[in-house]
Symmetry: none
Subunit: 207 residues, 4 copies
């Protein structure tokens, strides 16, 4: 009985996941508003009504998608940070890891960079909390580097974090909307990290 229950639980989780994965594809192709709930249902191989057994509304699919993906991303980023030594290394890891993640997931890149902004309401009401958490992680690495003297301290960690996020987002967006050429992201990540880190070095006041 418990085995069956377990199986059922797994199955259930599977269906929710299938819906989320289908949603990523559909949202990426057509955008959130132009995507129809029945398209997501078809893509997930479930009936229209089934969607509502797992999500309260179409909005909640997008919300859950971000909640799910960003939570996972935050976890991975924290792990990656822990692996780095010193702020510059950590910044470089943050940049390369994030763009590396998207390399094989163009749909997800599009959903995050494009679709996240499709609902102002969503962005304002929901995403802020998670988004702030994300920005905080970035800013904390910068601030740490400033405390240790590894990074210049005449700039606001929060502003740098916002620019860092924006840079990653801009690169990902142009890549996702473009041809999504393989290898493109990795090269861009490396150069972006180079420029950013050089820019963040303690100024040597070269005459």
């Amino acid at each position: 009985m418990s085995a069956a229950a377990g199986a059922r639980t797994v199955r259930t989780g599977d269906k929710r996941d299938r819906i989320l994965r289908a949603a990523v594809k559909v949202f990426a192709r057509k955008g959130f508003y132009a995507s129809r709930v029945n398209e997501i249902a078809s893509a997930a191989g479930v009936a229209d009504g089934t969607i509502y057994l797992y999500f309260k509304s179409k909005d909640e699919i997008l919300t859950s998608l971000f909640e799910d993906r960003i939570t996972r991303l935050l976890g991975l980023l924290r792990e990656e940070c822990a692996r780095g030594e010193g702020a510059p290394d950590r910044v470089r890891r943050l940049v390369e890891f994030q763009l590396g993640l998207l390399e094989g997931e163009r749909d997800l890149a599009e959903v995050i960079t494009v679709n996240l902004r499709q609902s102002s309401r969503l962005l304002k009401q929901y995403a802020n909390r998670r988004f702030t958490e994300y920005l905080d992680l970035m800013a904390s690495v910068i601030a740490e580097g400033q405390r240790t003297g590894e990074l210049r301290d005449d700039v606001s960690p929060r502003i740098v974090a916002r620019a860092l996020f924006g840079g990653l987002d801009g690169i990902a967006m142009t890549w996702a909307l473009g041809n999504g050429e393989s290898g493109g992201l990795r090269r861009a990540a490396s150069q972006f990290a180079d420029v950013l880190l050089d820019g963040l070095r303690v100024p040597v006041k070269t005459g």
Copy 2:
């Protein structure tokens, strides 16, 4: 009489403009998809049907809005570039000018950074052309600086342009979605330019 005639002429051209200005406000507040055509009409002080004397569809309002604003932006950016001397100065001017522009136009900032992405179709089909033009302007300034030896040449101008755009966009978005505190943008612009330009300096290979 000529004054009246003048006023009349202005008034006529004005109606299209009034609709566009109303659309900026409404789109910024509720997002493109959640905005109703009659809300735009009301905000513009015209009848619903009047909208369709100037625009083919609700979509075309957004399209025209970008066409109009981005065309104007490109013109202003080219003028600002011409005022600068040398690539670093031009880059700094591009950054500060753009964020300065938005300082008093939070609604427009939100429409450009958020709403532009609300229609994948729009972004893919329409915006690419104009957006590419915008990125080209940025990239050309970088490339020029590389030719003159003012900027490091081991990074792709196009990648830098994308990160530059992204950085501006990220800063503008977080500002627009946040409290839009006065002065915030100017300070962010200055620091962003500092970091960016330091990052773009020719590496001195300091031991």
Copy 3:
């Protein structure tokens, strides 16, 4: 001045007529409901608003069109009847004259046979009166022939009139909707009259 006034008067009557003639063309091509008032205005070479100086509504254009055309038709039919001698001759003249009239006016044929029926309301409220007048003319010729013994009297003149109208209408409609081949109507008229008149002869009770 009086000349100018006269010219103006003529011009004015002309404008009403131009609108009606334009309406015939437009209605024939697209049907009453699918025709737009501004299409009629364009076709007539006048401004949209001008239509309303001559007609109270779009409906009234159709109404006036029929009033005008059917009144004229009734007058012509009465003249044609007067020219005939005896009921059979008059019936034949009615048939051939009407289909002959349409020969060069396919648009009008389409409007009368098709568009007249596009508005049940119109047909019921307005057309009945005129239509009855038309049917009465037909029926009176039949009844006259019955009184003089030229035509069989075991059929109701009104039923014959309805069938006669229907036959003409059916022939005109299929012609108008078909290729409208020249000469087609004249031949059909002749054969229709032959059959009808043979059918209306006093039965000889041929053993």
Copy 4:
């Protein structure tokens, strides 16, 4: 249980039919263009949206209505023809059967005689095919009679068919638009057949 299942099955197929039957009533009362989709829905006892589960558009309701009714009519007419012996008998049967059919279905008569013509487009693009099929049936009976010598052969079967259709249509229309008095159609049918068949007899060239 099987009764309930049977009822359920019927009900399902019924919904499309209920909509069509409601449409006949509504179209007859107000005409196609003046009929509102929600009126049809109400009359059918379904929600507005349900209409669109069975028909692509309001137009398609009319189209389907004719397709459905005319197909059924053609089948019945063919059966009726088969029952007749010799062309004259068949012609009489065609006339009396058709007008007899409408006797109890005034709404349908009005839709067929009036509404069919409400959309030129419909009439031109769609109806032609079915209408031609209908005319062909009529013409073939006439032609057959001509071959066997039962009917005069100096008139075109197609012209006779068109007049026959028109006569029936004219009688039906005036009846439907009039008071629709009971028994009226049957009497008219009989007299119309008398006149028509006498007119189609081989001329005896009575001196």
